[in-house]
Symmetry: C2
Amino acid sequence: MTQRGDGAGPSCIDLGLEARETPCEVWIGGDLLGLGHGPLRADLGGWLAGRTLFVVTSEPLAELLGPHLEPLRGLAARVEQLCVPDGEAAKSLAVAGGLWDRMLGLGGKRDSRLVTFGGGSVGDLGGFVAACFLRGIEYAQVPTTLLAQVDAALGGKTGIDVAGHGKNLVGAFHQPRFVLSDTRLLATLPPAERRSGLVEAVKKAAVLDARVLAELEARLDALLAGDVPALDRAVVAATRMKLGVVAADAREAGARKSLNFGHTLGHAIEAELDFAGLRHGEAVAYGMLFACRLARAEGVLGDDLDQRLEAVLSRFELPPLPVDALSIEGLWSAMAKDKKATEAGLTWVLPTAAGHYTLRAVSGETVRRELAAFLAEPGPRAGRSRPRS
Amino acid sequence: MTQRGDGAGPSCIDLGLEARETPCEVWIGGDLLGLGHGPLRADLGGWLAGRTLFVVTSEPLAELLGPHLEPLRGLAARVEQLCVPDGEAAKSLAVAGGLWDRMLGLGGKRDSRLVTFGGGSVGDLGGFVAACFLRGIEYAQVPTTLLAQVDAALGGKTGIDVAGHGKNLVGAFHQPRFVLSDTRLLATLPPAERRSGLVEAVKKAAVLDARVLAELEARLDALLAGDVPALDRAVVAATRMKLGVVAADAREAGARKSLNFGHTLGHAIEAELDFAGLRHGEAVAYGMLFACRLARAEGVLGDDLDQRLEAVLSRFELPPLPVDALSIEGLWSAMAKDKKATEAGLTWVLPTAAGHYTLRAVSGETVRRELAAFLAEPGPRAGRSRPRS
C-alpha cells in the first residue's frame, strides 16, 4: 500500500495487492469530481478514453448530484446511464440480471468501464455487476455517502441480497480500479446519514487504531455538524485503516475479519427488522456495544474501551433499539445465517483494548445470556459504568 | 505448474498460480472416483472432513453415473444433492438463483464444499454458483464428458448464459480446488460426445503443441473408438496444454486467448442455431476450419496445418453445417457480441504453423468475404487443397 499526494491536493492511497493485475487508487478530497487535479484527470482520462462508460446510479441521486459527475462523463467515448432502485432494493438478483441484459443490449464489451455513483447499495450492486459481466470488467466506485466513503466503497467486496435470507449472501471480491471519495458531496447529506457513516469510522478505530479513536473523540462535534475539513480527515484515516487491513488479507482469511466488529449482531438486527428499522451504522453501533459486553463477559477487555464507546455513541443521538420487534431466538437464528459463520459456528470480533481485538468463539449459552441482558438495557448512556469482570 | 504421480497411479497436475490462495489439483485416471489411490483419498478426505458437501448434477447423470460418486460422498459430514436441468438449460440466472436460495436454506456456510458432477454445462453453472455463494466457496469439478475433461472443467472459467444474448456472458474466474477426470466415466459416452471432446483436444494441439497434434493424428482411430488408455493419454496431454496456458495467464489478458482458436465463429454458429443445431465441439471444428481460411487470406499460415486439420476433421464424420439456417449478417452480429470482443473490435486467433498462432485484428471486409466463401463450401474434405496466398 502506498500513498501519493503532497498534502495540498487530494490524497491518493494505492492498494498494492500482489494478487491483483491492476492497481486500485483511492482518491479523497473536496471537489475531486471537478477533475481540477491534473494527475487524477490524467489517470481517469487514460482509463476512459475511447470506452463506453456505464454509470450505475439511482434516479434521485442522478437528479440531486448528477451535475458533479459531468467532468468524468466527458472523458468517455460514450456514456450510458443505468438507474436502479434507491437503497437496499437495488441489491437483488433481478436488478443485477436486468443490468446485464441492458449492458449486453447496449454493446458492452470486456474493456467497457462501469462507474457506481451512489451510496453503499448502489456500490455493492454495481461492483457485483461489474465483477460478473463478461467475467469481470474494470470499474470505479464514486461513493456519495459518508458510510460508503469510509467503508462500503473500499476493499472490493461486492454483492446482492437473497430474499428471505439476508444481506450480501451472493457476491464477489472485485477490487475497483478507482475509488473517488469527493467529500464535497457530503455537504447535502442528512445528519442521520452522516452519523451512520461516522459509526463505521469509530468502529475501525476502536479495534485498529487508538490514535484515530482519540482524534475522532476530540473532533466529534465538528464531525457530527458536517464540517468538511474534519470529515476529510476522518475519511482519509478510515481509508488508511481499511486498506491496511485489506492489503494484508483481501479474501478475509484472517485480519480482515476485524472489520466485522459490531457486525455480527448488527447484521442480525437489520435482518430481523427487515432492513427497514435502523440504518446500517445505527445497527452496527448497537452491535459494537454488545460486542463490548461479550468481551467483558469473556474477560478479554483490558481497558475502558466499552465506556469510551458508550460515551461517544451517546453523542450520536441514535434512535432507540426497537426491542419489541426483536427476540433472542430470532437474532440467534439470523446470526447463524451470517456469511462469516463457518460449519464450526460463529467467530466474534471482541475488543481487548482501544485499537486492539481478538477473534473468539463464544459459547451459545453466553451469547444468549448476554443478549437477554442487552435487550433489557440496549442504549448507550454517557458515563454509565459496567462492573469489571 | 507441477506434476505429481509415478506413472502407475493417476497423474496429478498442480496449477501453481501465484495469485491464488489455494492450490488447484487436477487428477486424471481410470477409476479415480473409487478413491483407491491413497494420496488422492487423503487430500479429498482432508478437504471434506466435517463439511457439508453440495453436489450439483442433473437427474439423468445422477441416475446413470451416481454410484461412482459414492466413495467421495462418504468423506463429507453431510451431502445435499442439487439437481439442475440437463445441458445448456442449466446455465441461467434463474437456476443459479434457485441454487443459492436452496443452499442458504440448507445452512450452507463459507467453508461448505461444492462438487459439480456432469458435463461442461453443469460445471460452468456449479462453478459460478460456488464463485458467488457468500462471495466464494471452494469447489471441485468432476467432469463426466470428454469435452469437460479436456477443456471446460479446467482453468477456472465459470458462467451462465443471458437469454437473447449468448453463452457465458455472466460469470467469474474461480479456480476449482480439485478437478477429478475419471476416464472410466467416458466408457458410456455416445460416440458423438466423444468426437466433440476430441475436437477441443485437436484445437489446443493445433496452435500450442505440434508433437501432441502428431500423436492425436496417429491415434485417432483408437480415440474415436473410445479406447480408454488412448483417451487417458489425450486427457493428460490436453490438461497439460491448457494448464500451461492458464498458469501463464489466468485472466485471459494474453496467452490464454490462444484457447479461443476456432471459438469466434464457433460460438457465433452455436448462437445463430440457438444452441440446438450442433454440439459445441462440432461448431468449434467448423470455426477452426474458418480460422485456417482467414489465416491463409491474411498470409500468416506458413505450413500445411489447414490441410492437416481438414484431413483430421474429415475422419470425425461431423454433421454438416446447416448453412440454410445461417447468414453472414447474423454470424457477424453474433461475433460482435462475443465477450472476447473489445471496443476496438474482434481479435482472431490465427494459426501460423502446427503448434503456433498469432493474435490478429482482421478487417470486417475480409471476414465477410471469407465467410461468404466458407458458407458456400463449409465441410472438411480429406485431401482438399487450398491455393496458397
